[in-house]
Amino acid sequence: MPDPEDDRSVEDACRVYRWLGHNDFKWDYNLARARPTSAVFQHDEMSVVLGDTLAESDRQPEDVANPCLVSLEAGCVRARSQTIRRDPTEDEPAHGLVVGRKTGSVRNALARCAALVVGPDPPVLPARV
């Protein structure tokens, strides 16, 4: 049964964007790529920018990077027992919220499925061993 708090007008294929700092990325040796630390997904009410609203205003995801940006697919977020809400603000009409309890399992899953849009500078590389 759909969660009444989940705004289904945000389709599963929609990308939701979360801005991050340069220091929020680590090298994941399992994925063999840089990814955000799961700590950036700790908040039960997590601010995001909704890709569909962004597109309606002819803005590019890179426009909301501050300074870095990752994207998640709405369907991937919902698969982790999270709901998505539109929450436009004066500063950001595409603002939204990903709401739900962020257990370690949820945080980790979100971090692993996050795609880099604007990466950190300098890029994160594996440590020399």
């Binding site: 220091n23 929020d24 680590k26 090298w27 994941d28 040796y29 399992n30 994925l31 063999a32 990814r35 630390t37 799961s38 700590a39 950036v40 700790q42 908040h43 257990t103 370690g104 399992s105 945080r107 980790n108 692993r112 594996p126 440590a127 061993v129």
Partner: protein, 189 residues
Amino acid sequence: VSDVATLPRLSLSVPAALATPWSAISTRLRLPTAPDASAIPEGTRTLAVSITVGGDSAPPVSDSVGATTVSISIAGEITPAWLGETVGRLNRRASNASDAAVVRAISTLLDIARPNSSPPFVSPLDGRGIQLEWSQGGLDVEIYVSGSGESHGFVHDLEEHTELEGALSDVVQFLAPRMDRLDQGRLSA
């Protein structure tokens, strides 16, 4: 590098919630004796600890834990190497962490890591907490330490498709037979 012998020393005030785990850890972490409070700069609390790992005494570590910043200096070379690196990362990345979180994070590492382990990635958490994490050897390991020093963890074994989230003792038990993978993970990645 400071001469740790000349630094003011302070016994760390450990919250009651940490008392039992800390007692167990104190066999390896020996806290110094009485502080000279007058010698401690305002806004800074200093402690000096001696660390013994695997039966060998390491050189002393001096930790200055400020009210708003964490500044930890190391006197001498620390063995194992990951401990010194982790202290540096705590300084740089979790400077607002509480005393209790810093103590618990370091003591947790002493429980989990081995001499050849790699240092964890360190992130700040809300409420002056700390997150420690490794992603290597087919394992994702995350340790969450709250500002009050409470901790729990999450382990995802990507090879066996199993997850565990719970008390630190459960995480340590789950990791024990997998530590070789965690220690060697960077080399094979």
